[in-house]
Symmetry: C2
Subunit: 175 residues, 2 copies
């Protein structure tokens, strides 16, 4: 049980990892913990629109875990186009360290879910990635394009970067 307490207190750090998007109506930036909560519920809400049948409980867990690697790397805007291999290696080292605080079966299960999201080859990962990519778009659309404006991201770049993952996992959402 002490291992689990160490693990959950380590996860607390994700509340301090800020993203580029602001919650609607708030002046602060959102953090990766509350973002993970929101997209887990987005996925649970739209599961019938997944491109292929998915195990929604697996998707939810994947989304709750998918950003934990940022505890040591911070968040990088999805439109960044350089340094991804180095960043992903650092995130993998981070989740391996943190998940290893837990015993089995959670340690292996959480690592597997994290890797599945990153590899993005299963229907569950496609759908989870669609939810993750769509949420900042939905917030920007409701927020006068706040993070796009602040970071100089053009409409064409948004479409180029997110249309593939969203269409791949949840075509109805893209429409």
């Amino acid at each position: 049980m002490q291992q689990i307490v160490d693990f959950i207190l380590e996860l607390d750090r994700l509340k301090g990892i800020t993203r580029k998007t602001k919650p609607i109506g708030l002046e602060r930036y959102e953090n990766s913990a509350e973002h993970s909560w929101q997209i887990a519920l987005l996925a649970a809400s739209m599961v019938q629109y997944a491109a292929a049948p998915v195990d929604v409980d697996r998707v939810v867990k994947m989304l709750l875990l998918h950003d934990i690697g940022e505890i040591e790397t911070g968040d990088t805007i999805f439109y960044a186009e350089e340094g991804w291999p180095e960043r992903k290696a650092a995130e993998r080292a981070c989740v391996t360290r943190i998940f290893t605080l837990l015993g089995e079966p959670q340690r292996s299960m959480f690592l597997e879910l994290w890797q599945e999201f990153e590899s993005n080859t299963t229907p569950e990962a496609h759908f989870a990635n669609a939810a993750d990519r769509a949420m900042p778009v939905l917030l920007n659309l409701a927020n006068n394009g706040q993070s796009w404006r602040e970071n100089g991201i053009t409409y064409e770049r948004v479409v180029r970067s997110v249309s593939g993952p969203i269409q791949n996992g949840c075509p109805a959402l893209w429409e």
Copy 2:
């Protein structure tokens, strides 16, 4: 799909509902969205310690949804001892309104999960309530009793208020 977008943007407001506890090392108070994320992962991490066998995926969804009623009522510290019936009625009205933004089956499923957490009679609800009660205790223990000190909550009152729910859902965590 537009209904789902309306729903998820409405949920965004939970990021603005602050609790009494601060994340470790941060000066701000935590919000109910990131709290929900954290306790969902706490439950997933300690499921083998549940007082009775539970469907962990049901527990995770229950915890992701359990605070949504606060969108209209705000958070009240668990040690508050007055006004609970009025507060719970207001929360119920809030989740009914918000979940009704969704179509079926999510509308009924989410309402049922929210009600199950509140009624606290199933093994899943016992375990979910244990995680919810335990998390601020764990943060306070790591945080020099920050929210207890700020709100004048004594050791005896903490024990009296949380020991029952935690022991009921997850005795090993209480030990």
